[in-house]
């Protein structure tokens, strides 16, 4: 009895932990149960690679949206990743302390701004700019890519900064002692050593871009069609759900849950990859440390 009383907090904590992780099972279960029937009805191939999305005609093909999602998040990564990595190098290597003291909270604030505000800002500034100077309707892959690039910055910056700061001091000191310049040290020694963390940062950033809904809805145009240029409007997996959930019923609603399943699977694969890269990077470094 005494033993049980002593262990009681541990049992309660375990119970809380188990219920926390059951959330993942619950989410997976309910979305799959709701969305899977339509995939089996339509057929996975016709669902994933079908070119036509017309709920009124009971046509449910999401291939243009997959392409839209890929285009938008790839664009976001192309713009956001280099800037984000530069910022993380800036923070960990170049920034004077007083700038770091402003920059870090600023990045946190950037992460906190509601996505609808980003979307709105894009609608006011980016979309007209593209329409007037580059052509097309303005609501486009490019507009969404730019806004998403800004939105994934906090993820990319904070995770790559952490992995840069986690490097043993000797790496840097050793390289500088060999006569490398600061930038050479960063490029030749530090970035490769922090590779696993940076790659994980990029993957998680892309994951955020793929999953973002509200900002994208406002600026991507949402037309279900195959884009021909980055100035064309597209619809993404998330915006498909976001736009139609409000009025969808029956099979149509199931098709939106099925869209969610596809999104869910993509995100889970990206997450698992990022986690695997981070943990294998940690292990490799641990082994190196044991050797020395």
């Amino acid at each position: 009895m005494k033993k049980f009383k002593e262990n009681l907090p541990g049992h309660i904590f375990l119970l809380l932990a188990l219920s926390s992780i059951s959330a993942l099972a619950l989410i997976t279960g309910f979305i799959v149960v709701r969305g899977a029937p339509i995939i089996t009805d339509v057929g996975l191939k016709d669902f994933a690679f079908g070119m036509s999305w017309a709920p009124s005609l009971e046509e449910y093909g999401i291939f243009p949206m997959i392409i839209g999602t890929v285009a938008v998040s790839l664009g976001a990564a192309l713009i956001g990743v280099p800037i984000g990595i530069c910022c993380s190098i800036f923070l960990s290597e170049f920034a004077p302390p007083f700038i770091t003291a402003i920059f870090r909270p600023a990045i946190q604030l950037l992460a906190g701004i509601p996505s609808v505000v980003y979307g709105f800002w894009g609608l006011i500034f980016i979309v007209p700019f593209i329409r007037d100077y580059l052509g097309g309707p303005g609501l486009s892959i490019l507009a969404a890519s730019i806004i998403l690039a800004i939105m994934i910055l906090p993820t990319v910056i904070s995770i790559s900064e952490v992995s840069l700061l986690a490097l043993p001091k000797q790496y840097k000191e050793g390289a500088l002692a060999l006569g490398l310049t600061h930038w050479q040290t960063i490029r030749i020694v530090m970035l490769p050593a922090a590779k696993s963390g940076i790659v994980a940062a990029v993957i998680l950033g892309i994951g955020r871009a793929i999953g973002e809904t509200m900002a994208v809805i406002m600026i991507v145009g949402n037309a279900v069609a195959m884009p021909e240029s980055i100035l064309d409007p597209v619809r993404t997996l998330t915006t498909n759900i976001g736009i139609e959930m409000g009025y969808a019923t029956g099979v149509h609603q199931e098709a939106l849950f099925a869209t969610g399943i596809v999104l869910f699977i993509v995100i889970m694969i990206l997450n698992a990859t990022a986690q695997y890269i981070v943990s294998s990077g940690k292990q490799a470094r641990g082994k190196e440390r044991q050797k020395s």
Partner: protein, 283 residues
């Protein structure tokens, strides 16, 4: 000593310039977004805007009911997520060694953290709204957000608990404390700042969230009176006003209030908390 090769020096300058340019452009974008919203929105923000209910679908009147709705939903989410999140964190950090169970818990928490909010919205809709029959309501919205912020609270709390120096635990045990006494009297107080930061971060996410809330709490504009009433949060209200072009003026006002709230949550409370709690820890 040989002089540096010109190419090395040039690339040093180039790289430095590029990195500074990238960092500064990010700052400029951030400032541009905030300043623009504030310039357009601050003039709208006055006492009656904050205290009047919206009329005419939000075309006129204030945003009082959406402020109340946001507060209720956030409160429900935090009250539910905090005990589960902190409990899970204590289990991971204090009660177990690295093994298959901790790896499953951590994998699940990390995966939950990466799931897009729209998926939480779908789940909340089918589970809370439909399956559990809560309908579009503050309760359903709050519970959905609780699921969404749970991984944030777990992760920040676990980090904070692990950051407590081991010597504190040893000192406490060596004075005859049990595990539970050590956790309550020493580990928890030392970790509370990090834990509170995680909670504040979660509050910010709840206030800012749109996609997950619109499917689960609905978008009814009237003042909510019970947990089972549907409501419209500020973020949802802003989205509807702006995207349907109902009232740009009120949209800017709502956005400005959102930005101010997020700012206060991020910076203000953070400062207050660290001053309040650090009193005993400063050397």
């Amino acid at each position: 000593m040989k002089p540096m090769k010109p190419s090395a020096r040039t690339s040093e300058y180039l790289a430095k310039g590029m990195i500074w340019a990238a960092a500064m452009s990010v700052m400029i974008v951030l400032v541009a977004i905030i300043v623009y919203i504030l310039i357009k929105g601050l003039p709208v923000l006055n006492f009656s805007f904050l205290t009047q209910n919206p009329y005419n679908m939000g075309r006129s009147g204030g945003i009082a009911s959406t402020i109340v709705g946001t507060l209720y939903i956030t409160l429900v989410a935090i009250l539910i997520a905090v005990p589960f999140g902190i409990g899970t964190a204590f289990y991971l950090a204090e009660y177990t060694r690295e093994n298959i169970i901790t790896r499953i818990i951590r994998f699940s928490a990390e995966s939950l953290a990466g799931i897009p909010s729209i998926i939480y919205g779908l789940f909340g809709f089918i589970f809370f709204v439909i399956y559990l029959g809560m309908g579009w309501s503050i309760l359903a919205g709050g519970l959905t957000l609780a699921f969404m912020v749970l991984p944030t609270i777990i992760r920040t709390s676990e980090e904070a608990i692990r950051a407590v120096p081991q010597i504190y635990r040893e000192a406490s045990y060596s004075l005859g404390a049990t595990k539970w006494q050590t956790i309550i009297k020493t580990v928890f107080p030392s970790a509370i700042q990090g834990i509170v930061n995680g909670i504040i971060l979660s509050v910010g996410r709840c206030i800012a969230e749109t996609a997950a809330v619109i499917f689960t709490a609905g978008s009814v504009l009237s003042m909510p009176f019970s947990l089972f009433d549907s409501t419209r949060t500020m973020a949802v209200h802003f989205y509807i006003l702006a995207s349907e072009g109902v009232s740009m003026e009120n949209a800017y006002g709502t956005a400005a209030l959102l930005i101010i709230l997020i700012f206060v949550v991020n910076v203000g409370v953070n400062l207050l908390v660290s001053r309040f709690i650090n009193k005993n820890q400063k050397r």
